[in-house]
């Protein structure tokens, strides 16, 4: 019984998969790969967080068709992105360009990594020079050693 249910379910899912990938015909199969990449990377302007590939909204259907047309017209990926950016603003690019507004976003991972390395460095290599408790340190600093020697000498004199 469970097996039958599973079979029915997988048939249904298979149907759905066929329905959502729709029929897109290309004059050249290499365009299909670029098309798939573009619709993955472009964002549906109506939906908050879906790409064109995943969205069923009418505007996404139109934009997928437009991307298809532009590919067939021989536009490069960059040109297609610029075409859509000039109409729908940068919102449509899931991979934002580096510019005045986004440099901080792009730089953040490097900045955080460097900060993390700095913290690690402080923790592991700078211990003795920081204000760590002395008992963690077997070696006395030279100043302390001198003081100790002096104290012991004074004691001997008494």
């Amino acid at each position: 019984m469970r097996g039958l249910g599973f079979a029915v379910l997988s048939l249904l899912l298979a149907n759905m998969a066929v329905a959502s990938t729709a029929v897109v015909e290309f004059s050249d199969e290499s365009l299909r790969i670029r098309y798939q990449q573009l619709v993955q990377e472009l964002r549906c302007p109506k939906c908050q967080n879906q790409n064109l590939a995943d969205s069923n909204s009418p505007i996404s259907e139109d934009l997928r068709a437009q991307v298809h047309t532009l590919l067939e017209e021989g536009m490069s990926d960059r040109e297609i992105k610029n075409y859509l950016k000039s109409r729908y603003s940068e919102f449509i690019l899931y991979r934002p360009e580096v510019n005045q507004n986004t440099w901080l976003l792009w730089a953040a991972p490097v900045v955080f990594l460097l900060f993390g390395l700095w913290v690690l460095y402080r923790l592991y290599f700078n211990r003795s020079s920081s204000d760590m408790p002395v008992e963690q340190n077997d070696q006395l600093s030279s100043v302390d050693q001198q003081r100790l020697d002096q104290l012991l000498r004074n004691k001997d004199k008494q």
Binding site: P45, K46, I59, D62, L63, R87, Y88, S89, F91, D131
Partner: protein, 178 residues
């Protein structure tokens, strides 16, 4: 010094909280407008009334006007229509962009609700819609006499939005107070 350094994470957290708090006020549906300050895109499309007559942006060159994107399937357009009618009565030039709609239904709509438009561009495929970056209806564009888009509103234009976003700019462009 080291004691103060302990407060750095707290300060960072406070700064992040302020940024996020400001973000709460923003409408996530609202996209930055790519076309404000740019010329209205070129188009050659039929009028809603029939296929015989083709209209282009030259048909409204030289006037300050609103271009209103609407459709009969658009629920919010019903709410907006009253405001458009009253603006038209006050003498505001409005051109309609009937977006991905059925001709007969659109004509019936105008017959039943009144027609605030000078004329209607019939964009059945949504091609001008793509050139304008339309992602929903209604949308309203304020175009100046040189054919430059000066303001864009995605969503309903009601009294509040008109007064807040359009009125001053419209009066400045036309030189008429209304």
């Amino acid at each position: 010094m080291n004691r103060l350094a302990l407060f750095i994470p707290l300060a960072l957290f406070a700064a992040l909280s302020v940024v996020l708090l400001l973000g709460l006020d923003k409408d996530p549906q609202e996209l930055p407008s790519a076309l404000v300050g740019e010329p209205f895109p070129e188009f050659f499309l039929p009028r809603l009334e029939g296929d015989q007559e083709i209209v282009s942006r030259e048909d409204f060159r030289g006037q300050v006007l609103l271009v209103n994107v609407w459709a009969t399937w658009c629920f919010a357009c019903r709410i907006e229509h009253q405001k458009l009618n009253s603006l038209a009565e006050q003498g505001v030039v409005i051109v309609g962009l009937n977006y991905k709609d059925q001709r007969a239904e659109a004509k019936l709509w105008l017959y039943e609700r009144g027609n605030p438009y000078q004329f209607n561009i019939f964009d059945a495929e949504g091609s001008l819609g793509i050139d304008l970056g339309v992602y929903g209806a209604p949308e309203t564009y304020l175009v100046d006499g040189d054919g430059i888009i000066r303001h864009r509103r995605v969503g309903v234009v009601d009294d509040r939005i008109w007064d807040a976003e359009f009125k001053a700019l419209y009066q400045e462009l036309t030189g008429v107070s209304q």
